[in-house]
């Protein structure tokens, strides 16, 4: 137990509130820079694709949001598990903070995907395996948010929605497989395919930049929302009022 004291200290609301307050800028500034550079590189300086023309450029938003939609659900599921097993309120607060962000990126991924689909497949929506999985993932986020919002009591909402998130996390690979089995018509993964990326550096570098940039943006947004969650949950203890009055008197 003793080895985990730093962990418990980090998990205490005052510490994590302060830490998230300091961290978010460290994430946000490089995020903005990387996204700007990556999008400029991808949308302006990278050459058009030999088959897809300029339409392929949507990958610079689409692929990072697809990755973040999955990352978001994993963070949700893992922190829900930690919250349930170790009864750690911070983990529940993180899950609550991350869920809407993950849902937003899932939505963004669907929108960009269907915009891409119009020139590529000839339709805004094709019942393609990945788009369908992504749609079901969005539904899972919505179900999670619906359950969370239907409780009056925060701690019960935390724990009940954590069980749902865990059930969902177990289900994600099964859903992915079943949808693939049902139908498949999408390119294989471009960056992570065996034998290295099938992309010249002029296209790849901006893509990696925007991946990293969007991921940092995700982290920054999570920090901001986590602070808001902590504030909302910790209205009662005095550390907050003390801290607020202290910081107010400094100004």
């Amino acid at each position: 137990m003793a080895n985990f004291t730093w962990f418990y200290r980090l998990a205490s609301p005052p510490t994590s509130y302060a830490a998230a307050g300091r961290l978010w800028l460290w994430f946000a500034v490089p995020a903005v820079l990387l996204i700007a550079v990556g999008l400029y590189g991808g949308l302006v300086s990278a050459p058009a694709d030999y088959q897809q023309g300029d339409a392929f450029r949507i990958i610079y938003v689409h692929a990072p949001s697809a990755w973040l939609s999955l990352l978001g659900y994993s963070v949700l599921g893992v922190s829900a598990g930690i919250g349930l097993i170790w009864r750690m309120k911070l983990a529940h607060a993180l899950a609550a903070a991350v869920a809407p962000i993950g849902a937003s990126f899932t939505f963004l991924c669907l929108v960009t995907g269907s915009l891409w689909g119009r020139p590529m497949w000839g339709a805004y929506w094709a019942w393609d395996a990945r788009l369908t999985s992504e749609l079901i993932l969005l539904f899972m986020y919505l179900g999670y948010l619906a359950l969370r919002s239907s409780f009056d009591d925060v701690s019960r909402a935390d724990r009940a929605s954590a069980v749902l998130a865990l059930v969902g996390l177990v289900n994600v690979p099964i859903i992915h497989f079943s949808v693939n089995w049902w139908n498949s018509l999408h390119q294989g993964s471009t960056v992570l395919r065996v034998g290295g990326p099938a992309m010249p550096a002029s296209m790849l570098v901006p893509l990696l930049e925007s991946f990293l940039g969007f991921t940092l943006l995700f982290a920054a947004l999570s920090c901001v929302r986590l602070r808001a969650e902590i504030l909302m949950r910790e209205r009662r203890p005095t550390w907050l009022q003390d801290g607020l009055t202290v910081s107010a008197s400094h100004e």
């Binding site: 897809q52 990958i59 000839g122 094709a126 395996a129 089995w181 993964s189 099938a198």
Partner: protein, 154 residues
């Protein structure tokens, strides 16, 4: 049994349940898991009769014929062993071109595949047009590999 032993028994029971389920799932992989039928199977008579299904293959170079004054298109798809003629009426997706992998949905009629939907399968490569041009002109024995339709693969 102590509380600890009981908890271990639970975990063991759950894990063996999950393991058994994985085993049963793998049993399913022994079965036919193809998502679409290729021309060789059609020629061998293994395609479903009188019922719509998906067919996948590469559009044979020089086979695309557009009927003037209508949206009807005829072309031939191949898996490099056998070919099947396809007839389709409607707008084709941008990525449809000769030498490209496609998937069509429809049914067989007198040895001809009447498609009601044609979907282009774009490959996993992104490159600037100049590079693609130079690849095309240079002799590339391995290039045909990547443009083959990925059969039975997601």
């Amino acid at each position: 049994m102590t509380a600890r032993q009981r908890r271990l028994a639970w975990v063991a029971a759950i894990l063996s349940g999950v393991g058994l389920s994985a085993l049963v799932a793998f049993k399913a992989f022994d079965q036919n898991l193809l998502y679409f039928v290729d021309p060789s199977q059609v020629v061998a008579g293994k395609a479903p009769q009188g019922k719509s299904f998906r067919i996948g293959g590469m559009v044979t170079k020089g086979s695309v014929v557009r009927l003037p004054g209508s949206l009807e298109v005829r072309f031939v798809i191949t898996d490099f062993a056998h070919s099947v003629p396809i007839r389709y009426t409607g707008l084709l997706p941008d990525l449809f071109r000769e030498g490209q992998g496609i998937i069509a949905h429809g049914r067989l009629q007198n040895g001809e595949f009447m498609a009601d939907e044609v979907l282009a399968k774009h490959d996993e490569k992104y490159m600037p047009p100049e590079v693609a041009q130079s690849l095309k002109t240079a002799p590339q024995p391995s290039a045909s590999l990547s443009t083959q339709p990925a059969q039975g693969q997601p």
